[in-house]
Symmetry: C2
Subunit: 430 residues, 2 copies
Amino acid sequence: MIKINRQNILKAKIGPKNGMEPAVLRELCMAKQPLVAAVLRSAGKEGYGFLKLPDNAKLLKQIQTFAAAQKKYKWENILVLGIGGSALGVTAIKEALLGCFHDVFRKPRLLVLDNVDPVFITDAAERLDMKKTLFVVISKSGTTVEPMALFALAKEKMMKTAGKNWKKHFVFITDPRVGLLREIAGNEGIAAFEVPPNVGGRYSVLSSVGLLPAALAGLDAAGLLKGAKKMRGLIAKAKGEENPALLLAALQHYFDKEKKKPMTVVMPYCNELWRVADWYRQLLAESIGKNGHSGPTPLSALGATDQHSQVQLWNEGPDNKFFIFLRVISQAADLKIGKILPKPMDFLNGKTLGRILDASYKGTSESLAKNGRPNVTLEIPKTDAETVGALFMLFEFQVALLGLMYGVNAFNQPGVEHGKQITKKILSGR
Amino acid sequence: MIKINRQNILKAKIGPKNGMEPAVLRELCMAKQPLVAAVLRSAGKEGYGFLKLPDNAKLLKQIQTFAAAQKKYKWENILVLGIGGSALGVTAIKEALLGCFHDVFRKPRLLVLDNVDPVFITDAAERLDMKKTLFVVISKSGTTVEPMALFALAKEKMMKTAGKNWKKHFVFITDPRVGLLREIAGNEGIAAFEVPPNVGGRYSVLSSVGLLPAALAGLDAAGLLKGAKKMRGLIAKAKGEENPALLLAALQHYFDKEKKKPMTVVMPYCNELWRVADWYRQLLAESIGKNGHSGPTPLSALGATDQHSQVQLWNEGPDNKFFIFLRVISQAADLKIGKILPKPMDFLNGKTLGRILDASYKGTSESLAKNGRPNVTLEIPKTDAETVGALFMLFEFQVALLGLMYGVNAFNQPGVEHGKQITKKILSGR
């Protein structure tokens, strides 16, 4: 299971300015312990529906059956039309389990079209063979501008390309009862899965929103749920600083409020987990950034790559960040350098890439510690479906805890309404 | 040419807390005007070499000749081995001019391997046809761990695959005299281009570092330089707030220091320019983040996508950010929605994606303004090579100005040394 290395927040390691005594950390976590039970008690209530998603064996079965039935079409492209919470989770699963070059080298491609940029969409539309494409249209409300605009274009195209058979190229994921997508599904007889009403978009990755595209791409949807369930069990049982969700939430809140660190950097030393950090950006920003003053700003970064881009600022710029590293212990593949390089680079000979990457992680986390910059590390056994599911649950639970710590509703997003209204007004010509 | 819309920093628009009177803005820029001449006077001095890169017609010719000669090999893959400043500029050019799906649909692929993640690299190595691959190895010092590790693996592989012909699969970009790459180039007779010693990695995109991969991928390297030259001319001539580099630098410094906004968000409403924002992240962070307290933290975002991820926090979270939007006026391609959607989404019928995207930009920038959050917009005529070259020069000049405003050396990066030493020590087993 995932463990958290917290050496680099202790006073003994990072000094008195930001460092904590072990007893202070212990007390901080124990004081917040009742919040864990409070979150668990809310399971199933508005917003807290995400806690029950790992138990939905019936949905899993439906998804697996649907995905198996689609195999006969030999789709070359699974095209997800969704944005925000309907895109970031799928992308995170895809990169974690299929790698970063999947669409370049293998099929079916799993492409997420999460914008209405005209060049981006035209390029995809002109190059993809639409006869071999399945569209997964995702909008919880069924009225999100971007996926609905793309759905309109896709429907028009497929009616031309496939005639009456256009409907078999579509599957929807939306509210079980209301909204335009649900209405169209009913009228046209298009397959449609549900986003449970008590689950918000950014907490929906373990619903059909994440599971269906994963299953269509041949990925282990069951493993995602299994990992999430295990993590939920661990969080429900573990006390104080041994509880990973509680520890992360308590530290993030403490460093923001007590030590003036309004930013949290999430940095996997792993290309495949980079998009999990992007998914977390939405989860944290939309859940906690409200009420005019609260909410750390999330930053995502990639190790070792961003050592050559951001570490200068992190080490010697303003002391205003808290860092969460993700470190993978066992690599699924690796390459070893032979006796190739002369001095002064001969120290790389005989080393694997995994070892070089890990030494880079140690270099960065230790240099930050030496500069007094607090950082913790999630030690991840390996990047499989169970691990990814566990990470989703860990971060969702952590953010639900942060909602209670900050005293904000972690499940709404009133701050995006005004911009939406202006956009709609412009487009309606009113 | 690129223009800056600055309505949303004025008091009349965003209120008294963050807003400026027009006269204050005018005076602020005029007071800093002498710094423009100071930067121009330094052209060619240590670090300031970037200012002269657009004039190197001889290098451009060499690059074009080399790229033309490579055509006979019919490379399927141009593989850049570089990290930080040796990767971010190439990636920015690639996405801006080839689009986001280039490697999925077309050849030669232009892949940038900017990490030593073992799964990431193994995946590429196993899938690519090495016989049809050209490696562009970029390291200014010739001793950067990540590209040198990948070079070692590539050399070993190509010696097995191509025998004595392995050398024709490589071209280097490195210091003209010192370092291991230069040494190997000399010993083995491998083609090698130069990074001028007075140009730092993060300012090197308009040297062979950006131009050679661009030319190898068939892109308009001359256009990049032409656009940069035009922008440099504009910056040298325009006074006060009409000077885009001066205006951006003055505002960024002002909002950081006077209005407590330690973060700058760069958000193109354009997938193709998203990586320019990532390139800027390094430029700003490494150049200004030093001396223990100075330097805004850069964030890159994508419109409209991140409206569904970050705008909640930006509008209603802590008031600690300054925003730079990039807006493309004329789209290279577009798609129009037919009479497809029923109510309540029928307002999208008859609209182009470009218009929807632009309405989204307006919704976001105006809602931020209404919440008193300062933002400016770079109005970009279109995304071609000249525009991209102009953006590079604009931002590089702006950051050089910021160096003078903050009183820091914008061209070194001492804060990454300690981590590097730890990494090397671990790998050397000492």
